[in-house]
């Protein structure tokens, strides 16, 4: 297990370096630098600006400098938000995104696993139909359609909740975004949990347990649940990546001051360091989640430690 963890960790480092490399190449191939503006700037000042941000160095030196900075936990200075470092911008937005994302992940894991399990155990029941319907709904109504529909129903129609905005983690502003993210994830998780538990319940060793006369409760909790959770764990990695998409969309629909808005605005304003820092940060988080998923998987299923 230790050797496996170590090997897995070793793969994550090149992943991060490659991502930073790709982003760097992209940014430098862009026409126009961050300090091109309508205003005519004297050449000396332009040169000074360039040298202050090390833009006059060869690209590979800038890359190495950046990596060195990163290792000290410094994401650099924002080019557009004057007087703001990327770290400061991120530390304002990260808690907001984490609160919404974390809450929705916990909720959707609980609800998704529970609903999927109930649907598998009571097939053709009301829960089962609900899970199937949700599953196909999730594939047809993407987040950017479902979100505005939720707003239409609960904010404009019923007027129960605000249609967007943010006020220091006060709950009415969190309900709709969290529900949107939860709905999307539950539809995937419940479907996968249902399919995998159905398969496990049809397997030979469960039949043996039944034949032995074990009560159904014991069969489910002691024998069926753990193996049926494996596919759910597997999907958590891709789910983390797709959650970024839904988080971007959600934050943009409800105008929530999280990381997503920073990314979109940074991209629109060509704020190189900001976008670069955010991409590095988010990639690092995704890589970390994938690492955890692999380790949990290896722990649950010893066969996968090859």
């Amino acid at each position: 297990m230790l050797a496996y963890t170590f090997r897995r960790l070793l793969i994550t480092i090149p992943t991060l370096l490659v991502v930073i490399g790709i982003v760097y190449i992209l940014l430098f191939s862009a026409p126009g630098g961050p300090f091109d503006s309508e205003r005519v700037v004297p050449e000396a000042i332009q040169a000074q600006l360039m040298s202050k941000y090390h833009l006059d160095l060869p690209y590979w030196k800038q890359y190495l400098l950046y990596i060195g900075q990163l290792l000290q936990g410094d994401l650099g200075v924002s080019y557009r938000y004057a007087d703001w470092s990327v770290n400061e911008l991120v530390s304002g937005a990260l808690p907001v995104s984490l609160a919404i994302g974390g809450l929705s992940i916990v909720l959707s894991l609980l609800i998704g696993i529970l609903m999927g399990a109930l649907a598998a155990l009571f097939r053709n029941s009301l829960v089962d139909y609900l899970v199937m319907a949700l599953g196909s709904l999730g594939s047809v109504l993407p987040s950017f359609v479902l979100g505005p529909l939720l707003v239409l129903a609960f904010a404009i129609g019923l007027q129960w909740l605000p249609s967007g905005g943010w006020d220091h983690f006060s709950w009415p502003f969190m309900v709709l975004p969290v529900s949107l993210l939860t709905l999307i994830n539950v539809s995937t998780l419940a479907r996968i949990m249902r399919a995998s538990l159905v398969e496990v319940m049809n397997s030979n060793y469960i039949r043996t347990a039944r034949a032995k006369g074990l009560p159904i409760r014991l069969i489910v909790f002691r024998h069926a649940l753990r193996p049926s959770l494996l596919p759910v764990v597997t999907i958590l990695g891709p789910l983390a990546v797709s959650s970024i998409t839904s988080a971007l969309v959600t934050e943009s629909i409800f105008s929530i001051p999280g990381l997503g808005i920073l990314v979109v605005n940074g991209a629109a304003n060509r704020d190189y360091t900001l976008v670069l820092g955010l991409v590095v940060l988010i990639t690092a988080m995704v890589v970390l989640v994938n690492l955890c998923v692999d380790l949990i998987y290896a722990f649950l299923d010893p066969r996968s430690r090859a």
């Binding site: 490659v18 993407p142 950017f144 990314v263 988010i282 990639t283």
Partner: protein, 291 residues
């Protein structure tokens, strides 16, 4: 792959078997018909309708939908006809979907077939690259690509292609690994056929069924990605439009003109739904052992 060969009826090829199985699947056939219809309507419709997608009707700003006037699906806040805009948006969305799918499938097939057939260190390196690409939050890079390179139609296609070929590559590699063990490949190798010819003339044609199924599943996911980009304001630019752009615009006017959201959302959802059903139907038809 044909599970059984019927020597008594030589004209029954595996493809014809598949066609028959497909035709029996009502949901899949309906989806296919719907998709053909919507494509035709999107391509031909804008020429037949009396309004242009970018012209303003000053007498009809934010007109609700009705059959009594010439704007059947209503107009947006600058008086542009929603029906024509939905059809034009459909053109772009479908075109992005199909073009991107073709390029990404081509890349994935070549990548996967080469990795699987050559094997060894080459395979290791190629698949490691795929692993790395998987861990990259693709939407962020796509956002970066379109901001840096511009928001042209072809750049959007390129940006989505760059991050949608890995699934195909993995699938094709796995299939190639098992094909490589077959006798007819061994025979070709024994006869001295060159590696590129074995890969492209003997392995790739045997992957077509799988690739077809995969392509139908890739199209909707590509359309979705384009819509998300456009929804965030980073994809197709005004006055050109796509379903994502229309949904975004509709979402802004929710409280006063909900139809601007409902119609494009409906078109997008129905299209995605049909592609998913079509993919399921094709998989069942082409891969009988999976039933």
């Amino acid at each position: 792959m044909p599970s059984s060969t019927l020597a008594a009826e030589p004209e029954r090829s595996p493809w014809r078997d598949a066609m028959q199985r497909f035709r029996r699947n009502k949901a899949a056939v309906t989806s296919l018909v719907f998709l053909i219809l919507i494509t035709l309507v999107c391509v031909i419709g804008p020429w037949l309708l009396p309004h242009a997608y970018d012209s303003t009707d000053w007498d009809a700003l934010k007109l609700p939908p009705a059959l009594t006037h010439s704007h059947w699906w209503g107009t947006d806040e600058s008086g542009r006809d929603l029906l024509v805009r939905c059809l034009m948006g459909g053109r772009i969305s479908l075109m992005v979907g199909i073009l991107t799918t073709l390029t990404s499938i081509a890349l994935g097939v070549v990548w996967g077939a080469c990795a699987g057939y050559i094997g060894g260190a080459v395979d290791q390196v190629m698949m490691r690259i795929v692993d790395i690409m998987y861990a990259v939050p693709y939407l962020l890079i796509a956002i970066l690509l379109v901001t840096v390179l511009g928001r042209d139609f072809y750049l959007v296609v390129l940006a989505i292609t760059a991050f949608s070929w890995m699934d195909t590559a993995r699938l094709v590699r796995g299939q190639t690994l098992s094909l490589r063990q077959m006798e007819f490949i061994e025979a070709a190798r024994a006869m001295g056929v060159s590696t590129p010819r074995i890969v492209f003339e003997h392995i790739v044609p045997n992957l077509l069924g799988l690739v077809l199924v995969y392509a139908t599943v890739t199209v909707p996911s590509v359309i979705l990605t384009e819509s998300v980009l456009s929804f965030l304001g980073l994809g197709i630019q005004e006055p050109m439009t796509s379903w994502g752009v229309l949904i975004h615009d509709g979402a802004q006017m929710l409280d006063s003109a909900a139809w601007l959201l409902i119609f494009p959302a409906l078109m997008l959802s129905l299209t995605l739904y049909s592609f998913n059903y079509l993919g399921d139907g094709l998989r069942d038809a082409l891969d009988p052992k999976d039933r």
